[in-house]
Symmetry: C2
Subunit: 326 residues, 2 copies
Amino acid sequence: MIPSTLRNIAISSALVLTAFAADPLPSWNETDSKKAITDFVEKVTKEGSSDFVPVPERIATFDNDGTLWTEQPMYFQLFFAIDRVKEMAPDHPEWKTKEPFASLLKGDMKGVAASGEKGILEIVAASHAGMSTDEFEKLVTAWLATAKHPKTGKPFTEMIFQPMLELLEYLRENDFKTFIVSGGGIEFMRPWTEKVYGIPPEQVVGSSIKTKFEMKDGKPLLMRLPEVDFIDDKVGKPVGINSHIGRRPIFAAGNSDGDRQMLEYTQGGDGARFMLLVHHDDAEREYSYGADSKIGTFSDDLAAEAKKSMWTVVSMKDDWKIVHPE
Amino acid sequence: MIPSTLRNIAISSALVLTAFAADPLPSWNETDSKKAITDFVEKVTKEGSSDFVPVPERIATFDNDGTLWTEQPMYFQLFFAIDRVKEMAPDHPEWKTKEPFASLLKGDMKGVAASGEKGILEIVAASHAGMSTDEFEKLVTAWLATAKHPKTGKPFTEMIFQPMLELLEYLRENDFKTFIVSGGGIEFMRPWTEKVYGIPPEQVVGSSIKTKFEMKDGKPLLMRLPEVDFIDDKVGKPVGINSHIGRRPIFAAGNSDGDRQMLEYTQGGDGARFMLLVHHDDAEREYSYGADSKIGTFSDDLAAEAKKSMWTVVSMKDDWKIVHPE
């Protein structure tokens, strides 16, 4: 048995060596951003280096919306919520005259927005609660199988960023453990992150609603309640990281004001640290937005802090050869 | 380079093969419990078997108090809380006359108990909150380095169960991901579970108090607040599992009524499942307690459900050759 095992190992080793020899980030242009990333990874993984970080502490956290996939013209989870409400509408005749549902069903998104946070929470409660966690997982999976992005017509799971996929894989090859830390719903992401990003459910941190353990027809399950449990955004991100990971990351990537505290918290630890912001400046291949955008706001304050703290700001336009997988 | 790599791999492979050939659970007697465990692991890991479980779904969850280490004469975390209060007492002269602190400082545990849940929460708030998460980690680590179990005189981290250590390792060798899911404090466990159990912080689920992101002297940190966030016990365990892991375990081990819902939730999934309860029936080598114990209650109801559902009840006395590492 050993000889055949050895042969297989020899083949694997050869593949691994080839992989390392090849460019780990082929969709990144040869710019300062790429060099900063590879310099960091090389120094923290080099044994004997003063910047060496032991494997268990190689924690990398990634925001999702706008960092790993597109977040325009609005967060993809909102498309899911809207489609759910439309699907449920026949059973809810009262929605025809009740806001924010009435506006939503007429496609009047300004009317929905006018209902404020309370209205958004009502939509979330109607579309995300009242079923078991198992049922919700099936709803998300079924929706993703058919829903399409309004601009590109692609499935939402193809609106991911190829250079970021390579970055995730490059970090994992260097024994980093990669996590998502997103303002999006934790249970909206978990059904597909393993397949799409290689990130398993237990490495996904996000916003959540409460759940309750129940026995239904003798079967134990968790019911999703119409009550917010945790908002994993802004000051919530370090809290979510501490709750789910229990270690300070050494690498964090985001794209907006919602990621600021995650990057600050990452930077606040000892030793080498890497903070990255994706800047959406590519109207041609994706979207261009910044301080004035309500979705994925990249404020002047954030830009100033990034500059002062020497965070790596990735220009989608200049640093990436391609945006979405081709 | 390849030949030397290959030689090293050949040596590792030989070691691995030897390890698999040897008994993976040497501290377990050859009883039904041991056979049930190894039968389960063999069938879910055998490719082509109808019970085969893919590696990512091999999730195993373990209670801590009474399952991985001793929980008598009281939860070890309470010893920590008491020692903290004693240490802080000189700065709190008012505690001399204020319950539950007055009783605690006099060593009158019945008086402490008389203050009820409110009293316990006050002790937790005084001993576990008001510092950063980094400071709390240092306090726990320093305490464990010197504190001793009142009966055995051993450090608390040596009051772990050798057969359960072997079980954790055996599952991991078979590509299970092992998690702790405990009613104990998540941040009380994380500083030492990797070293003691081989379970990293991100695979520890427990009860928690709230934390708040703050900048202190320009340094970002998380302050621990005197406010309960989540109780990871009874119906809370499936909720904690879903929140932190996002998959239903296929293997769960506990020892008391607090673990009942975790085992029910585990059993409720499709395919092969393994539910284990450690029964403390060994007054000579550890402790003997059950339905009447306030700590680690093993009620008649639990015993009846275990029997009906064919959960494996491990007798410490009969199934284990040794209890604590020797």
